[in-house]
């Protein structure tokens, strides 16, 4: 599903080139559940952003579902992204002015899905995550765990093949974190959604089927 070859990422800081990622080679099959670990500044989030097409690498090749991500046009990449990738953030990043229902609905709006279909999809999702009663509340009225549930629901609503999570439990207490991890595991196993998560916690990383350790922008060989 994902092939990364010789991925480099750097910033120019004056005359110095500061490397964030160095020579990343990675191949991920569909249905994988991968945890990326590493200390702060090791390049975990940058790697996730490159995989999620939010950022470009300075050098290297990236193939996603057989397409060369860095070569195809902006529009095609955007389509590819919309159809296949869902994102979950540490800080949830819900739109404060929209209700739970509307937040979950938003990705569908950008995929031009008709109203009736949209309604049933959102209703399904609310049902599955047990948040039907909260659908008219605004994010500020929810607890952190609930907000992250909404964030995950939003990421999954468009039925992506790949779910990217950047420290999804970083702002949650351990019980809430555990619930989210259980949910990820279930999604991965039952629906076959490929998951890549960045995490600090060994315990959460263990939910993944595979762990990748990053240090100073390189994948540590085990």
């Amino acid at each position: 599903m994902i092939q990364l070859e010789k991925i480099y990422k750097w910033h120019n800081n004056g005359n110095n080139r500061v490397f964030i990622l160095k020579d990343i080679n990675l191949s991920i099959e569909e249905g994988a559940f991968i945890s990326i670990m590493g200390p702060s500044g090791s390049g975990k989030s940058s790697l996730l952003n490159i995989i999620g097409m939010l950022d470009e690498a300075s050098e290297g090749n990236y193939r996603f579902l057989g397409q060369d991500v860095f070569q195809i046009k902006e529009k095609q990449r955007s389509e590819l992204y919309k159809q296949n990738i869902g994102f979950v953030f540490q800080a949830y990043h819900l739109i404060d002015e929209l209700t739970v229902y509307e937040n979950i609905e938003t990705p569908l709006l950008y995929q031009k899905i008709r109203t009736a279909e949209r309604q049933s999809m959102v209703a399904d999702m609310l049902d599955r995550f047990n948040i039907v009663g909260k659908k008219d509340l605004f994010p500020s009225q929810l607890s952190g765990g609930q907000q992250q549930l909404v964030g995950i629901a939003r990421a999954l609503i468009a039925k992506p093949k790949l779910l990217l999570a950047d420290e999804p439990t970083g702002n949650l207490n351990s019980k809430q974190g555990e619930e989210i991890m259980e949910l990820f595991k279930k999604i991965n196993e039952e629906e076959g959604v490929t998951i890549i998560q960045v995490t600090h916690s060994e315990k959460n990383a263990a939910y993944g089927k595979q762990i990748i350790n990053l240090l100073d922008g390189r994948i540590e060989k085990k």
Binding site: L54, D55, F89, A91, E97
Partner: protein, 786 residues
């Protein structure tokens, strides 16, 4: 999707009530100003454009050279109309409109002086003034027919059918009402309450076939297929053909669409006219709207961080740039719609006052489809202009940066906004300087030595029996103590009604075409109006019986005639010889902005229309007026006592400039107001984005004043830049404007100093609120957030 956007927009508006209020207020005030100006412009452009035959209607004009200058004027000989109808196949018909007449109307008990025009009977075939009753082809055929406007008819006859009723005019002649006109629209040069047939003018012996007497207005209707080009050369030589004393005269036709806005000529060439004013106000309207839009941009981008997160999220969940631009443009159009509706409300409330200010009856035609079309267009236009910068600015955010929180490079954000603020203040300062100079120029002209004493002086037309009973009236006025001096004249002392280049004197060069103002008075003119004699004496019929043919000159006249010893010289005018008995200092007869012209004042044998009365300053004015009224009623019972104060009439000369001054001041005020709203918002943003810096400075021991100064300093710099940009532009505008006034001020440096001081003061007051608030904030709080 649209609903989602709408919800976001509405919730954002409600959540940030302060910002929304400033935003909508600024935009709606700007839009309201622009709408008012556009209404006025639309009104000016629509003058006389409703006539069905407007493409074929022309006014006859003269062009001739006087003292080396080519002059154009639109009074032409009475014989012109019938001559062109006969001589030129291109002409379908020509119609004359004489000067407005003020006749006394009597209908039963009712008596009133009413203003109207004497016109050729084909007038209504040329101009489209619809008749409610009567046939336009025949209403003015009979010498004793009269056409009334609806309102005039209603005044006299109430609800009864006026057709066929009798109107007695000047207690002499009875006229039959043959037609009722719909009331004249606002946007026409004509102003009459009734029309009388030309035959009546002829009957009174006022018609003439003299090609040298340019005394009326002639309008020409060309045939549908005729061209101006084919008739123009023939008109050039028309006068010379019929009058061999006309050597250089040319006549020409002036099209209806240029009458209102362009008819100002210098050296025989159109040189602007009202159109300059219209253009200037169009520019002001555009700028005020632009400034309101700039405000909107400034305030929207100032809030960009708050919206940045939303942009980032939307991009992550699949939004492309286009849909985000659409969303933000939609939001600004929504705000512009709300502002537009608020603007309509403001316009509706301001229209009466604005109408008074511009001396126009302006209104919004809500039933008009085009009005709504233009209004919607206006809203979309404003929304897109105001929203474009924020929309593209916001939608260009990179989600990774925004969501990570590394966004916020205030330098980049602030620079374009500083440019916008400079633009706003430049415009505001230009308007401040212009207002100050216009006001100064008006004051300058007001303070000008006028050459006579306008206080306690009234004038009255010699209506009805006043001419006949003049001696009795005068005696009683003086006897009763109401007046100290009374004089009969040709025209009010504030108005020039007659001028001539036809007078002769000893030593006049044959080609001298110097134009003299012509005035006449019976006696004691100097005492009544308070003239200053340089040589000789006033008219005095009691002492000098020959003073009825005496003449008084002003100093400019003496100079223009080149007379060494003017007293006793003979001046020939109207086939009469006048001997000069006195010389006065020049006084302002017409425009206080122009140099005084040479002037001749003829004695009692001259043409008399007005009575001037110097009221006795020992009594109260009310007392004097009451006595005078009783005397007028006694000797002229049929006519109402309708006097005018000379000082009020004189003040009216400043009306147009005062209006310019007031409008400039008004728009300057509005511009400053809108700009300040923007500055206020920007200051809020600056204070917020520098909150950490302020915290650190405070911890290091900076004082509140020090920090407030630090924050205000930047803005003062912006205002100073604006001032530097605005000054030359304002100077150039005002320098050109002042060229219209031969009697004018020179532009003083203090006007600029005043504008600079005022704008800096306003900016400081606006900014200081946020500056002081930020400086007073507890640093512990602001530093903890980091």
């Amino acid at each position: 999707m649209f609903r989602n956007y709408l919800k976001i927009a509405v919730r954002n508006l409600l959540k940030n009530k302060g910002f929304s209020f400033i935003n909508i207020l600024g935009l709606s005030v700007g839009m309201a100003s622009a709408i008012l100006i556009l209404l006025w412009i639309n009104h000016e452009m629509s003058y006389d454009q409703f006539h069905e035959k407007k493409d074929r209607i022309y006014e006859a004009w003269n062009k001739d050279t006087f003292s080396g200058k080519l002059q154009c004027w639109n009074t032409t000989p009475k014989i012109f109309a019938r001559t062109v109808e006969r001589d030129f196949p291109e002409v379908e018909m020509a119609t004359r409109v004489n000067w407005p007449s003020n006749y006394l109307f009597s209908i039963g008990e009712k008596r009133l002086t009413v203003a109207g025009n004497i016109v050729d009977s084909n007038f209504l075939n040329v101009f489209s003034f619809p008749l409610l009753k009567g046939d336009p082809n025949t209403v003015l055929k009979d010498m004793y027919s009269i056409v009334l406007t609806e309102t005039t008819a209603k005044n006299f006859f109430g609800d009864a059918d006026p057709m066929g009723k009798q109107v007695r005019i000047d207690d002499k002649d009875n006229f039959t009402v043959t037609g009722i006109l719909k009331d004249l629209p606002n946007n026409t040069r004509f102003k009459f309450n009734y029309l009388l047939p030309w035959a009546y003018l002829r009957k009174q012996g006022e018609d003439d076939a003299n090609w040298g007497n340019n005394s009326t207005r002639n309008y020409v209707l060309l045939k549908p297929n005729a061209t101006l080009a084919s008739i123009a050369p023939k008109l050039k030589t028309l006068k010379r053909k019929y009058d061999n004393s006309e050597l250089t005269n040319e006549m020409f036709l002036y099209p209806i669409k240029r009458w209102r806005l362009y008819s100002s000529f210098t050296n025989g060439v159109e040189d602007g006219g009202l159109i300059d004013f219209v253009k200037m106000f169009a520019v002001i309207a555009a700028f005020i709207l632009l400034i309101a839009c700039i405000n909107f941009m400034n305030l929207s981008t100032a809030r960009s961080e708050k919206r940045a997160k939303e942009v980032g999220i939307r991009k992550v969940v699949g939004a492309n740039k286009g849909s985000l631009v659409g969303q933000f443009l939609g939001e600004s159009i929504l705000i512009s719609l709300i502002a537009g509706l608020a603007a309509l409300l403001i316009v509706q409330l301001a229209l009466p006052a604005f109408g008074t200010l511009t001396d126009k009856k302006l209104f919004i035609d809500y039933g008009n489809f085009y009005f709504w079309l233009i209004f919607i267009g206006f809203i979309l236009f404003t929304g897109v202009i105001a929203g474009s910068y924020p929309a593209f600015y916001l939608s260009a955010f990179q989600p990774v940066k925004v969501l990570k929180g590394t966004f916020l490079k205030s330098d980049k954000v602030v620079t374009p906004r500083k440019v916008l603020v400079v633009l706003q203040f430049t415009f505001a300062i230009i308007l401040i300087i212009c207002t100050a100079i216009v006001k100064e120029q008006i004051q300058h002209a007001r303070n000008r030595e006028m050459g006579y004493d306008k206080n306690n002086l009234i004038f009255h037309f010699l209506t009805g029996d006043l001419e006949k009973n003049y001696a009795l009236v005068k005696n009683e006025l003086l006897g009763s103590g109401a007046a100290t001096s009374v004089t009969k004249t040709s025209a009010p002392i504030t108005q020039g009604w007659s001028d001539t280049w036809g007078i002769e004197w000893k030593g006049k060069a044959p080609d001298d075409k110097t134009d003299f103002d012509r005035f006449s008075a019976d006696e004691d003119l100097g005492t009544t109006v308070g003239l200053q004699f340089v040589k000789g004496r006033d008219f005095n019929l009691k002492q000098y019986i020959t003073d009825s043919s005496a003449m008084i000159l002003n100093e400019s006249s003496v100079k223009a005639m080149g007379l060494k010893e003017p007293i006793g010289e003979i001046v020939k005018d109207n086939g009469r010889e006048w001997h000069v008995v006195g010389v006065i200092k020049d006084f302002i007869l017409q425009s206080p902005y122009h140099p005084t012209k040479p002037m001749i004042i003829e004695g009692a044998k001259g043409w008399m229309n007005i009575i001037h009365i110097k009221l006795n300053n020992k009594n109260t004015t009310a007392d004097n007026i009451k006595k005078a009224e009783a005397i007028f009623k006694k000797y002229n019972p049929e006519y109402p006592f309708e006097y005018k104060f000379v000082d009020e009439d004189y003040a009216a000369k400043f009306k147009s400039e005062q209006r310019t001054g007031t409008l400039a001041g008004l728009f300057a005020g509005l511009t400053i107001f809108i700009s300040c709203l923007g500055l206020f918002g920007l200051a809020a943003y600056m204070a917020e984005s520098r909150i950490k810096e302020i915290g650190v400075r405070k911890v290091l021991g900076a004082s509140v004043t020090g920090i407030a100064t630090l924050l205000s300093k930047d803005f003062i710099g912006l205002v100073v830049i604006s001032f530097i940009l605005a000054s030359p532009v304002a100077w150039w505008f005002m320098h050109n404007w002042l060229q219209n006034y031969p009697y004018r001020i020179s532009i003083q440096w203090w006007v600029f100093a005043f504008a600079a001081g005022l704008s800096i003061l306003i900016a400081v007051v606006t900014v200081s609120y946020h500056a002081i608030k930020a400086a007073n904030a507890n640093p512990v709080k602001s530093l903890r957030t980091e």
